[in-house]
Symmetry: C2
Subunit: 212 residues, 2 copies
């Protein structure tokens, strides 16, 4: 039987969030690795799947989905028995979505200025300046998450949700971004709590061994 | 009677998207203008409402919501009779959410490099370089929207949805961003179609007269 979903992913990218959520949901899926090192995301074959030339993308029986917050909400809604989001409470669902939107539009964007400055400027001097600011801009995001957003033990409180794999995924990069982990003990404890989960270990192992 | 919702907004910002959606929904709300010119968004009073120091924010009986895609989905779910999203179809809802996530994480971010370069760099030379790139980076977003995302007559096809006020709101800025409107006739026609709606005219008039 062909699996229901195919996740197009690359190791060390935000596609890990959706990968973990598929594991959490017990979904029937397979993986298709995209080699960023050879710019496979810009190949004609992949552009036919995702014209944005980015990962992740999720092929479903109805078509392809992109954008991590949308994919995470889709996984939660498609597998309600996994209880990955408060699907019957629009306010609580909106709070969860607001957290995920903050990650995609503010935290991930701040991080991207370390390696992807060419998206927003032309000059090498600008890229270097952007890199210098990353510890401050990414650090400010994590301080807000630490002090105002992360409820504990999970992002939204007592209930694990689709916010947890997304924060965990981005938090892989904070030391490389120059953020001092000692200033955000709650985020670091959350990351350790996530790393202890079997679903997370399974997803990471699959990505690092490159199984398709 | 106190209205159910209060929208904290500023004119000429992305808060207009949620404002139009509240009009579309027939919601009971009032408006509270935040004066960006005097950095009121950084005042202690406003930080108590939204520690992100940004607009929009939506005060509800359960608490404050932020992040446009999350607020728009909340409005759609809170007023199902307004039919602003395919609430009973997780795949179609995810496609809609993916569109809105693209606007918040890619299009709006590209635009922000014209005036808000200080978020991601330190040097005036970097800000000037970022400004030079905006016509290309924002233009590339609109070309993708024009050729691959906007279905017509509304963003998601025959049905008006919460994607429409969001695209309309950001499309206010494209000429100032240096994007040639002649290259994106579908986006321009969508903007005109939106501008003809009574709910859109009402929201804009309220913002420009500064009524609270």
């Amino acid at each position: 039987m062909h699996p229901m979903f195919t996740l197009y992913y690359a190791a060390h990218t935000c596609s890990l969030a959706s990968h973990i959520a598929l594991e959490d949901a017990g979904a029937d899926y397979d993986l298709h690795r995209i080699a960023l090192a050879t710019t496979q995301q810009q190949s004609a074959d992949y552009l036919a799947i995702n014209p944005k030339a980015r990962v992740p993308a999720l092929a479903t029986p109805r078509g392809v989905l992109t954008e991590t917050p949308a994919m995470l909400a889709f996984i939660a809604q498609s597998f309600p028995q996994a209880q990955l989001a408060p699907l019957d409470d629009p306010f609580a669902f909106a709070e969860l979505q607001a957290f995920n939107c903050y990650l995609c539009s503010t935290l991930h964007v701040a991080h991207a200025h370390r390696m992807r400055g060419h998206r927003w400027a032309y000059e090498e001097s600008s890229f270097a300046d952007m890199q210098r600011k990353v510890p401050d801009s990414v650090g400010a995001c994590y301080e807000l998450i630490e002090t105002r957003m992360l409820r504990g033990p999970w992002v939204m409180g007592e209930r694990y949700s689709i916010a947890d794999p997304y924060l965990f995924t981005l938090a892989q990069w904070l030391e490389d971004d120059g953020v001092d982990p000692a200033r955000i003990p709650g985020v670091i404890a959350h990351r350790a709590r996530m790393a202890a989960r079997a679903q997370v270990q399974q997803a990471i192992a699959q990505e690092l061994t490159g199984s398709n």
